[in-house]
């Protein structure tokens, strides 16, 4: 009764990837969807928690390779929006397209789609009963059905990328918050997602540990990863984002390049918000 869907999903994607090699320099998986379509497209998305409308008619597109940062006060719906993109929240109204393909709330389709959407959580959510390498390998072995030795090698490469190759056989309880979050990033990257979603990845960290996580994220952005990031780290938004989105009370109020957003925002609320969080000399 437990293991209904088993491996069908993982096998399908790998066989498709083998069949069609793309001429692009970066190794990316082909799929049935339109390669030129935006990776994420959200149309008219609304979300209610009971009577409370937390997302009001959201429309958003994210292009391949783009880094989009969402800012806004707590309760503005930015985390909820991110969770909707990964279908952790069910929505009644609105459409979400991943690579041009409309995703419906159907178990099998979601399991397949989520592999393409790497998610990093505020509280890391590492699997505490598995070692660091075990965490990174889990999706590869269980979902993608990769042989264990191959998955282990891949995990080691990924851990090296986030600077934690020496921690492979340690349990998450032995790591600092920053290290945990870097493992969580490696775990998400292992599935070779088309887009990485970051839900306040540094909000639960001690200040001195924020830098190491942002460094990994900056590196990822440089390598061309498509990213949608909810954060309060304005430095990251300024330096790394291609586009900054300001959300307030469930609405996208303003959307601009970081230069414009931080120097001359158009909306009053955006101004007020930025004034509160940015150092006064700016």
């Amino acid at each position: 009764m437990i293991d209904q869907t088993k491996s069908a999903i993982g096998k399908k994607t790998t066989s498709v990837a083998k069949a069609t090699k793309e001429p692009k320099p970066k190794k990316r998986k082909r799929d049935m969807s339109d390669p030129d379509a935006p990776i994420v497209r959200i149309e008219g998305l609304c979300k209610w928690y009971g009577e409370l409308e937390v997302l009001k008619n959201i429309n958003l597109e994210i292009q391949r390779g783009e880094v989009v940062v969402i800012i806004g006060a707590s309760g503005s719906g930015k985390s909820t929006l991110l969770r909707c993109v990964n279908f952790l929240e069910k929505t009644k109204k609105g459409k979400i397209y991943i690579s041009g393909k409309r995703i419906k709330h159907n178990e099998k389709e979601l399991n397949k789609t989520r592999q393409e959407l790497g998610m990093v959580f505020q509280h890391f959510n590492l699997f505490p009963h598995m070692t660091v390498a075990g965490n990174v390998m889990e999706g590869l072995v269980q979902v993608k059905k990769m042989p264990k030795d191959k998955a282990r090698k891949k995990a080691e490469v990924l851990l090296d990328r986030v600077g934690l190759s020496d921690k492979a056989d340690v349990y998450p309880a032995m790591l600092s918050g920053g290290q945990k979050q870097r493992v969580a990033i490696a775990r998400a990257l292992a599935m070779e997602p088309k887009v990485m979603l970051f839900d306040e990845p540094t909000s639960a960290l001690d200040p001195e540990l924020v830098g190491e996580v942002l460094a990994v994220m900056t590196q990822l952005a440089k390598e061309g990863m498509t990213m949608l990031v909810v954060t309060h780290e304005m430095w990251f938004a300024k330096e790394v984002a291609d586009r900054v989105i300001f959300m307030d009370e469930g609405v996208i109020l303003e959307e601009a390049s970081p230069e414009k957003m931080f120097s001359s925002p158009e909306n009053e609320r955006t101004m007020a918000f930025l004034k509160q969080i940015l150092p006064p000399q700016e």
Partner: protein, 222 residues
């Protein structure tokens, strides 16, 4: 009348005559709880299921079994079912213990599954795992670990509860004590022996459960 009317010297002399009976006690407990674990896991998952039929069936099961005495359940299995099927005393005792403990174990599992932070399920789903796989690979291993102390407790309760099987002629410790008592009229001495046997077995079990708990601590800090 003696001030101390019991002959304690009998205790070491007759002690090992109870070994076979103790073995029966251990076996019906072991198989009863083993089967109870299976029932408990299924019922706990039913209790947490979105499926209304499974949910209601599980709730009804827990309601009926926790609300009635084990002795009643034992007699229903052994005497009550005879019009349909005759079950021997030992399988009857195992079955009744399994059904009875299954209800309690289901509640232990439900509690420990619910105690796992929902972020674990979300993280598992976010890498593309199905609900079932996430439950099996991520939630249940952590939940089992948290259930161990309560399961140990339940195991000890089950071992002592197995003495009720004496009422349906299972040759376990309690019945042996009664038989030895009535044949020698040394009830006090015989039941002291029975008590010591139970004490030894429960001590060993709690020691073993503690060891298991220790072993499972590897992934915790220090």
């Amino acid at each position: 009348m003696d001030i101390f009317p019991w002959d304690l010297a009998v205790i070491p002399q007759k002690f090992f005559l109870f070994a076979k009976a103790a073995n029966y006690t251990l076996q019906i407990t072991f198989f009863g709880v083993l089967l109870g674990l299976v029932i408990g896991l299924i019922v706990a998952l039913g209790r947490l299921s979105q499926n209304k039929v499974l949910f209601s069936l599980s709730r009804a099961y827990i309601f009926l079994i926790r609300g009635t005495p084990l002795l009643v359940q034992l007699f229903i299995v052994y005497y009550g079912l005879t019009s349909i099927v005759t079950i021997d005393p030992i399988p009857s005792a195992v079955l009744a213990l399994a059904v009875h403990n299954g209800a309690y174990i289901a509640e232990i599992f439900r509690g420990s599954i619910q105690s796992i932070h929902y972020g674990q399920m979300e993280a598992a789903r976010s890498i593309g795992m199905s609900q079932g796989k996430a439950m099996r690979r991520i939630i249940l291993p952590q939940a089992f670990k948290r259930a161990v102390p309560s399961l140990g407790n339940q195991l000890i309760i089950a071992l002592k509860d197995s003495s009720l099987a004496s009422t349906i002629a299972v040759p376990e410790l309690m019945l042996k004590g009664r038989q030895m008592g009535s044949s020698t009229f040394m009830y006090m001495e015989m039941f002291i022996i029975v008590g010591i046997w139970y004490l030894i077995m429960t001590s060993v079990l709690s020691f073993v459960m503690n060891r298991i708990e220790e072993k499972l601590k590897v992934s915790d800090r220090d």
